[in-house]
Amino acid sequence: MRVAEDVIRARGLTLAFGDRVVLAGLDFAVRRGEVFVVMGGSGSGKSTLLRHLVGLQEPAAGQVFYGSENFTLASAPDRERILRRVGVLYQGSALWTALTLAENVALPLQQFTELGPERIREVVEFKLALVGLHGFEEYYPWELSGGMQKRAGLARAVALDPEILLIDEPSASLDPPTGRHLDRLISQLKEALGTTVVVVTHDVASILGIGTRALFLDAEEKRAVAEGPPAELRDRGPPQVRAFFGQAETGS
């Protein structure tokens, strides 16, 4: 039964750039419906791990599973089919700057659904309303603030109702209130859409605020040193994890 509710599983995953190993021997599972946080200091390979989960980089060893399917060994069409169920919000929003917000959200719908233009417009308006950007359909990304761009990126990531939402540093380069607002929005979307969320972040407030379980990556040991509910890791985790929570809180 446990296997069935794991939506993503990593087995003996080793990430490397050429000969330089970033992380070795990762084993973890993301369960359906949770907010799984990947945390760690800068350079611990958090974002690299995310890139491996969506196939932008290939692991040096080990495998990634989506449900019961082996993503690492899957053929290109199979990978595409699997990724269709995954939405990604990139650190820099990665909105297409030559397109308006509406066109950004509409693109996946146009490519992967049979909806007519009128229905697509309705869905796009609804998705933008979900992230509080109703009325900004015709704006270009660069006309918006960083927080709004992030929210628009989120609207695009959930355009196809993904089962799994991968988010890279949601609060990076946002002020704390805007960051918390985005965290709340992610929780609400998760509750409403029933999405499983994987968040990569070093933002302690964000980790404690939205994470149900967390994985701590250690840059020095180049491996995952702790896994569990964030509050528990903060209070009873290994010393470097407790230090991470403490330092980041006093440092900010």
Partner: protein
């Protein structure tokens, strides 16, 4: 979630009850992947005679995603607009939360003006032309000032960048410059021989090719190649730096982007063009010689001696000066278009295109100007 788009398509059934209530029953699979009904029919029904209230029963819906939520959201706003009460029953869990989230209050943006009228567009284009001209003049002025600071060794730039730019603009361009100029030399010789033959003067082809290549074509063709090569690259690079705000980062650090980005490129191209031109001259003459020796059976040494005898040092120097000028123009056109780009990926492509167009236009214009000048002074 199983994807079963074939099973039981989404259905909307409506019936008007005796108490004046419109009962809507939704059923089947409501997924974005399969096209689902819109609210148009309900809207017609509401318009034909507003019912007292509307009830929606979702009991028969088997699978759903945003498609259903959008339908209900539209229905809710239709009913709100007409002041009709809406009752929902057997709503799947989680759906209400989504609807609520979509209705969160937002600060609406300022309304956007629609597309302007023709006259307005003409006016706006004209004004933007004027602005662009002013922009260009300012850019040229700033570049000139920055070049002055460069000469006085007070400009801020990275020497390593300049080195790379020089290599990219000069040595890296040698193969393509060689190929194109060799072909131009061959073409000139062919045209020359066929035309001169009519007057029995085809043995003067060495002079024709030599003078044409050294005085003009070498520099001109090389500059056109560089406009497509380096000019486009400069524009694309600076434009993408605009997208990622790298140019802004320079500015706020107090580093003039003109000194840091424009000057090294202008210097690199202006410096390399005379060398490339000299190289192009040699290759062009060799191209002519290839035709002369095969078609006219001239000896290579004789052909080259004939070429050398027809040229003066002034011819060569004039060509080099032209080359340097073209180089500066190509670099200025490229960097100008890059700096003018806005923060969108589309603008990167546009900047590269415009850099080439502007560059070639400037080169040809300058070439015409040089012809007149050289003619006037009898050079």
């Amino acid at each position: 979630m199983p994807v079963d788009g074939v099973a039981a398509p989404a259905t909307v059934e409506m019936s008007l009850g005796p108490d004046g209530a419109l009962a809507i029953r939704l059923g089947g699979v409501w997924r974005l992947a399969a096209d689902t009904p819109g609210v148009a029919r309900v809207e017609e029904e509401l318009a034909s005679g507003p019912p007292r209230r509307v009830t929606v029963d979702l009991g028969a819906v088997t699978t759903w995603d945003t498609a259903l939520v959008v339908f209900l959201s539209r229905l809710a706003s239709l009913c709100r607009d007409r002041g009709v009460d809406l009752e929902r029953s057997r709503v799947p869990g989680g759906l209400d939360r989504l609807l609520l989230l979509a209705q969160q209050p937002v600060s609406p943006p300022e309304p956007r003006a629609g597309p302007p009228a023709l006259l307005e567009r003409v006016g706006e284009r004209t004004l933007s032309l004027r602005d662009r001209a002013a922009d260009t003049a300012a850019f040229v002025g700033f570049t000139a000032l920055a070049m002055g600071r460069f000469v006085l060794r007070r400009a801020r730039y990275r020497a390593a960048d300049l080195g790379l730019l020089v290599q990219g603009a000069g040595p890296d361009a040698l193969p393509i410059v060689a190929l194109v100029n060799l072909l131009v030399g061959i073409i000139l010789a062919f045209v020359g021989i066929t035309q001169l033959r009519r007057f029995g003067a085809d043995h003067y082809v060495a002079e024709v090719v030599g003078i044409a290549v050294v005085r003009d074509m070498g520099a001109l063709i090389t500059a056109v190649v560089l406009a497509g090569r380096s000019g486009a690259a400069y524009a694309a690079q600076i434009a993408s730096m605009q997208v990622t705000q790298e140019v802004d980062a320079l500015r706020t650090l107090g580093i003039s982007p003109v000194e840091f980005l424009v000057v090294p490129r202008v210097v690199a191209l202006t410096l390399m063009m005379p060398f490339l031109t000299l190289f192009a001259d040699a290759v062009g003459v060799l191209g002519g010689a290839a035709v002369g020796t095969t078609m006219l059976h001239q000896a290579l040494a004789a052909y080259l001696r004939q070429t050398a005898a027809s040229l003066t040092a002034g011819d060569v120097m004039g060509g080099l000066v032209k080359g340097a000028t073209y180089g500066a123009l190509v670099a200025v056109a490229g960097t100008l278009r890059g700096m003018q780009a806005e923060r969108s990926s589309e603008q990167v492509g546009r900047a590269a295109t415009q850099a080439v167009v502007t560059g070639i236009t400037l080169i040809i214009g300058a070439c015409g100007f040089f012809q007149y000048l050289f003619f006037l002074f009898g050079w």
